[in-house]
Symmetry: C2
Subunit: 183 residues, 2 copies
């Protein structure tokens, strides 16, 4: 038995590319299932066979982005997030990934966006922060509150970057994070 039917793959890739195209013209909340399907050349019925609605569907695309985010962060396996003393240039990968995918992160932080997207982001950062903390501090137990605190703090910086329209360079963001962690 195959993992995915060829037909399914075809419909899904069709849908995804037309959605990406549509999002260059209009915000997500203006994309209707009807239009998406008409442009993709598939029936609405088929869409609903796979997904609930447009925002939930977009959530799947965001999950793909989050996989890439995680890979970016894992490039810096041995980097210690809270080791303020030395600036590791590898650390730059997090902000680099975000900058390279600005458009998607703008959808996540957009006013009409779904909170679920933010949560996906949050969860991945938490995972990264947790392993960073654990590799640093082998003595004490790290609580979920500490992890959520640190992870969401970093997200706060990223949010601020977004609010300032990604004016700051990736290198600047790197320094800002280090400075703020030291605080």
């Amino acid at each position: 038995m195959n993992l995915e039917d060829l037909r399914v793959i075809k419909t899904k890739t069709n849908l995804q590319s037309t959605l990406i195209e549509l999002l260059k013209e209009k915000p997500l909340e203006k994309v209707t299932v009807t239009e998406l399907c008409r442009l993709s050349g598939i029936t609405r019925r088929t869409f609903y066979l796979h997904y609930e609605n447009v925002p939930k569907y977009f959530g799947e695309i965001i999950e793909q982005l989050m996989d890439e985010l995680e890979q970016s962060m894992q490039k810096t396996t041995n980097y210690r997030l809270l080791n303020y003393q030395q600036l590791d240039p590898k650390m730059i990968h997090l902000f680099e990934h975000i900058y390279n995918n600005k458009e998607f992160y703008q959808f996540i932080f957009n006013n009409n966006s779904n909170f679920a997207y933010y949560e996906m982001f949050f969860k991945r950062i938490k995972r990264f922060v947790k392993s960073s903390m654990e590799s640093m501090d082998l003595i004490n137990e790290i609580t979920d509150f500490e992890v959520s605190y640190q992870a969401n703090a970093i997200l706060g910086i990223i949010l601020e970057w977004y609010y300032q329209d990604f004016q700051k360079s990736v290198a600047d963001m790197n320094l800002i994070l280090l400075k703020v962690l030291k605080l």
Copy 2:
């Protein structure tokens, strides 16, 4: 000329109380304008004369909640958020307010929620953190990045509290915040 017509006040209070009632039965995304208006005894046309749609309308109610939040925080004007040395019992007002309005905060953090609600929350916490930081540190300039970092960090703790279904007591949360800020 009056600030608000009596008729307007009547429709708005009607709508609000029926919405609150409806939200005890079903999630926000299942509330339709049609049902809301039928139960409120007003026409759909009237609803659209005042609001855009149900989620945006609910945003107005959240703004009211945010006003209450800000009042709670202002009760502790002289409390210094980052003064780790002494635990001020007044500080409890923040978590107290959240606990007393659990149901609303569950709507904000809910998976199908609008990111706009989170942002409203974030903005208020930022304002509080900014003034706290400014009253502490009169020498250095405080950047927006530092404020967003601290504010969202606190929101991270609140989010974790929500994930753990508000099991921890208000007093516990108070201690957790202090401990984590000291970290």
